[in-house]
Amino acid sequence: MVRTNRRTFLKTGVVATAGATMMAGCLGDDDDLTVTVPFGEGGGTDTFAREVIGAADEFYDGSISFENEPGEGGLVGTQEVYNSEPDGSRVVVFNPPSTPTSWLVQEPGFDISEMTGVSIMGFFGYMIYTNSDYEVEDMDDLVDRFEDGEFSQIAGQGQGTMVDVVSRVLRDDVGLPWETYIAYDGGGDVTEAVMGDEVSVGIGTDTGAEAGVADGRLDPVVGLVSDGSGVFPDMATFDEQGYGEPGDPIDILSQLQVSVWAPPGTDRDDIDPLAEAIEEATETDEVQQFAEDSGNVIQYGGPDDADALLADVLETVPQVVDLDEIRADA
């Protein structure tokens, strides 16, 4: 048997590890802006952030880099930025009411309400779609089929996520009587499950359903945001189909506002240059073209709008959602 030479290993290995550690430590040491996306690479929020904030680079005095820190519905990356220095060098992108709701459900050891708003960049909304083999016509037809027992399950993203919350509001407030919520990893998995008829009804973003609808495998049934859908402008919304009014909880919860946040206590002087650069970016042809191509809605809001949005969401969600029930089910 070969005997390991401890001295050789220690001599070479420890010096190398120390060198690599020092080098890696130095890599993060710079004064430029780091944008943390607390979701996976290539997802809806990641693409949105990279496109809009990427375009803001041109109007920003300094370079902008991105990093992804996914996990726990955006809480991992958000907490990372929450704990960083409030010097304007780091921001995080999340989508109220999504990550704040995950925060309310999971109750981690930081206070998301203290985050400093930088800007709102736009929004995307949730909708209900079905497998096209069933030829579901509208919300009335869908509710009837659930009541008749033809459907009992509904597919959406993981337990405790925003889609889970929206599905509960649909059941308890709007009157869609589903029995079992089938959770999938991501929006793509949900559309795949509905297209393959593993589950016949799903909730997801309009952009995520676009390809399946265009292919004829999915039918859009109802938009859950009263402002309508940029992807399916002809799809009737829940209020147009007689299932509530604009401003109802389902309306507030189904509209994900892609926005930028700095650590608590960040000075306004450190926030304004980025907010202004983002505002200019939203008006560029490049970003407008992205909105047109992707179906995302670009709509700028400043630091005060972002702060107001977060406060509103944190006040509204506990009123319309039984957080204890979600925690118990999870």
Partner: protein
Amino acid sequence: MGFAAFAEGIGMIASGTTFFWLIGGVLLGIIIGALPGLGPSLGMAILLPLTAPMEAGDAIILLVSIYSGAMYGGAISAILLNAPGTAAAAATTFEGYPMSRKGDALHALAISATASATAGFMTIIVIILLMPVLVDIVLAFGSPEYFLIAFLGLAMITVIAKGSILKGLTAGMFGLMITTVGTSPMAVQPRYAYTDYFDFTLTQGIDFVAVLIGLFAIAEMFNLAGEKGGISRTGTVISGSVIPGVKTVFKYPVNLVKSAFIGLGVGAIPGAGSTVSTFVAYGESLRSSKNPEEFGQGSERGLIAAESSNNGTIGGSLVPTLSFGIPGSAATAVLLGGLIMHGLNPGPLLFSDELATTYSLYLALFIGNILILTVGLLFITRMSFITRVNAIYIIPMIIVFAVIGAYAIRGGQQVWLDVVTVLALGIIGYYMKKYDYSIIAFVLGVVLGSIAEENLDRSLQLSEGSWMIFFHPIDQPLSFGLVIVIILLLFGPFVKSAINKYRGNGD
């Protein structure tokens, strides 16, 4: 229309700077892939914002070329240093590195380039011809089938693990246990995460790329530290040339084709991806080999299986990505982000109005494979000199790459966890090897654990607790077929031996 679009696709590749981006992408991808821990998804994500000012076609071809190059590049460090550059290259280490130890690194690198490129050519042609059918096949697979594919991979432990079956199963179970750390895949429940002490650090679980880097690269550096000379064992002569390596690949045509299409098939199933496909192909190659004892000692067949399935996966993974925007892996998720960012929405339009663009993507992959073959045979094979370099220089270099790779995997709160994982698994891997616990069984457990758990849980939720969701021959024919395959795999050898014994007695 199809031919016109094909011609337009060729025009897109050949025009302006596109060809330059294709070449640059493949070469950059090879470097990214060869660096342990970096991998195609991180490499592409870093470059994604830089593509913003580029023409949409150029940007997408650059990203696809990086993806393709990186998937091949992972094999280089796997063969030369036992440090898989990508998770998909883990199976390559099992045969590629032993060949390097025997002084056959050049031969192994030639096999790797040839098998990768040939599998790429074959699978891309088939995909272009069968795209509409493949989409339906992909959609036929659901949670029960994903669970059974993962279970099939775990059942491979009985085939792949050598020596004591008990030790093999113990190693596999250990791998499965590691995947239970972190938030459970179906509920918001942290397990073994100790959030009171470590906050969110452990909620994301132990990263399996960090596990692989530690298990292979660091453990092997421990091993090398006890030897004199370089990676190629003292006394061995570095021999061989490129041509025999190329010929070797075509000596096993069934193995090559079968593995390439296992890669295509498994790669097209979202969630499974290249890591699973390489292990399934490698296991099948071992199972069907007349000389299974050669596996683990530098088997040419095993290396061909791992490399051809790895490259076959690339084309397969693009099918659900381009058809429905369903990424099958982290790398295709980034690619999907790039497509949307540049105004190319996945869906049927990519196969009608935008057909020329889709053809250009697959043509880019096809040309990329020519480049991989050329660069792989002419230049990468020359890197076999690394196996002659004294280990005293190799060890610090690999540890530096491994630690930097660990930093790069996830960043944030997980940085130290990943560094500790790499070093701890290095020690564990060294002792597992020393005491003959199967590393392959362990890796299968780590790779397949969460896929199996999540899909088992969801399947039973779908069936309201009925196990018939896996066995019903009419409602679930695919699941039923997979169950039969698993039973044959597990019990076939015993039945075969009993039948032979019976026949022997009859005579």
